[in-house]
């Protein structure tokens, strides 16, 4: 199968639903070691993304992701807004004008997203952030040769394991770092949302096969 602008837009809409379903869970995770807004911030942002997609139909996958990026940047706020915004922006830029995406483009996009998050947030693996989910996602995607769906499934699995790995960590970036040792034994909300988004994208790709 190919992955067109419409497919990407549909995947983003599906992801918005996942975010809404998991809003309370993400709020709860952030309440424990942050300020309790992560779920609400993402819900607000993805709601706006859906509205943006309702009123304009970008004609390449890159253009869709660019719209997502700009909308998230201007509606999410907090740490996650610029970080996810940059991730989608870099992914969009990496895709250029391609009309359809294959597995290689998807891998490149995820890699670019990680690069963007690291460039903005300066977090390394082990700092208990979304990087802990995104980095293993990139490594899993790179190691997989197969369809778009297979690449995304691998990335999602990597992200899921990576998110789980944040539980014992002491945070060194973001708001959770203020807690010092008390940040351990909690799942990082941003890593969790990254894993949720990738899992949703993988499901969309799988369903489209």
């Amino acid at each position: 199968m190919g992955c067109t602008a419409a497919d990407v837009a549909a995947a983003v809409r599906a992801a918005a639903e996942v975010v809404a379903e998991h809003r309370d869970e993400l709020v709860e995770l952030d309440r424990a070691i942050g300020d309790g807004d992560h779920g609400e911030n993402l819900r607000r942002g993805f709601n706006a993304v859906v509205s943006a997609l309702d009123t304009s139909t970008p004609d390449t996958p890159g253009a869709v992701l660019k719209l997502v990026a700009k909308t998230l940047i201007s509606t999410v706020g907090g740490a996650a807004g610029p970080l996810y915004g940059t991730a989608f922006l870099r992914a969009a830029t990496a895709l250029g004008d391609a009309a359809e995406l294959g597995p290689a483009e998807v891998t490149t996009a995820i890699e670019a997203a990680l690069g963007g998050v690291v460039a903005r947030g300066k977090a390394a693996v082990g700092d208990k952030t979304m990087v802990d989910a995104l980095d293993p996602a990139v490594r899993a995607a790179t190691a997989t040769s197969g369809s778009v769906a297979e690449v995304l499934a691998a990335a999602a699995a990597g992200a899921q394991a990576g998110a789980a790995s944040t539980v014992p960590l002491v945070a060194r970036k973001g708001r959770a770092s203020y807690l010092g040792e008390r940040s351990a034994d909690h799942l990082d909300p941003g890593a969790r949302s990254t894993a949720l988004l990738l899992a949703s994208f993988a499901r969309s790709a799988g369903a489209g096969q």
Partner: protein, 333 residues
């Protein structure tokens, strides 16, 4: 959750409408993206001072907009930093040709969003400088944290830099002054009870009837340590000592003492705590030359307080005393 609100998702917008109606002589609220600007903005030839951050800390920052202080404030959702659009919109509305100074509290979200806006403004050839305030000694400034948070010191910084901009200092001078303030200001806070964010609906953290949270931030983030509740003497000493050690403040220093309520602590208690802090400082030969007491950097209805000390010199004192006309701070002609 019991609050005087309609819908959690419209709290900030509705509150801004009331703010504007209450203070239409001082400020205007621009909706979408939301910005609070001085009613007479842009002021030609003056450096514009812009700040912002999550809502829920009122009167900071919207209540600090006006002559002698802020030209604009960018209110994010409750406890969530504003977006770059808001900051950009603020810059556009207040730029009077002498450049714009962004005052940013050191939180990852605030820093990243303001940074993005600054990049975009510079691309439009607006001269923009950023000062990051990180006065909270509760957080170790190390590789292992996001760095100290910006808390109570922010109000003092905004007042002093606002006065400098008002008297005509250029952008470079405002930045140099702001750096001096940031270098000389330290804070520490505590809470007896957590705030409740409207869209969360339950307290940001759970404290037992005999516990207090020390080293608390202003966003309902838990603090660094949970301790048995102490009396006022113990609480004030526990806030003051790390502040004094950190800079350090020493005998003979002239300071501004800012005793801040986190929102839910009444003035009766706050003045009591202020009196203790004054006594402890006098005991060490530190001279309290100016003071500010009240709820200025709040965390919704959080019960608790913070102390902030700023080292003064003649110039800072003069700028502190300079006229200011905002909803929350007002003196001089």
């Amino acid at each position: 959750m019991k609050k005087i609100i309609n819908d959690p998702s419209t709290v900030v917008a509705e509150s801004l409408r009331g703010l504007e109606l209450a203070h239409s002589d001082l400020l205007t609220v621009v909706p979408e993206p939301a910005v609070v600007v001085r009613v007479d903005a842009p002021v030609r030839g003056k450096v514009a001072v812009v700040s912002g951050g999550g809502s829920g800390h009122e009167p900071m920052h919207g209540g600090l907009v006006g002559p002698g202080m802020l030209d604009a404030a960018c209110p994010g959702p409750v406890f969530t930093s504003p977006t770059p659009d808001q900051v950009q919109a603020a810059i556009e509305r207040v730029d009077g040709g002498a450049g714009v100074l962004l005052i940013v509290k050191n939180y990852t979200g605030d820093v990243l969003n303001f940074e993005t806006a600054a990049e975009l403004a510079q691309a439009e050839d607006v001269e923009v400088a950023t000062i990051v305030i990180d006065d909270d000694v509760a957080v170790k400034d190390s590789l292992y944290t996001a760095g100290r948070r910006g808390v109570g010191g922010t109000v003092l910084l905004e007042k002093i830099v606002g006065a400098a901009a008002e008297r005509g200092d250029d952008l470079a001078a405002c930045v140099a002054l702001a750096e001096r303030v940031v270098a000389g200001v330290r804070s520490m806070g505590m809470a007896l009870a957590a705030p409740t964010v409207p869209h969360v609906g339950e307290p940001s953290f759970d404290l037992g009837e005999d516990e207090m949270e020390v080293g608390i931030g202003i966003h309902g983030e838990p603090g660094r340590a949970r301790l048995p509740v102490d009396n006022a003497e113990g609480i004030v000493a526990r806030l003051l000592e790390p502040i004094l050690e950190d800079l350090p403040f020493t005998e003979g220093d002239r300071v501004l003492l800012f005793t801040n309520s986190m929102g839910g602590t009444p003035l009766l208690e706050l003045y009591l705590a202020h009196g203790i802090a004054e006594r402890l400082l006098a005991d060490r030969g530190i001279v309290v030359e100016r003071r500010l007491v009240g709820p200025f950097v709040t965390s919704l209805e959080m019960q608790g307080m913070s102390l902030t000390l700023l080292r003064l010199d003649d110039e800072l004192t003069e700028l502190w005393d300079a006229p200011v006309r905002t909803a929350a701070l007002r003196w001089g002609s």
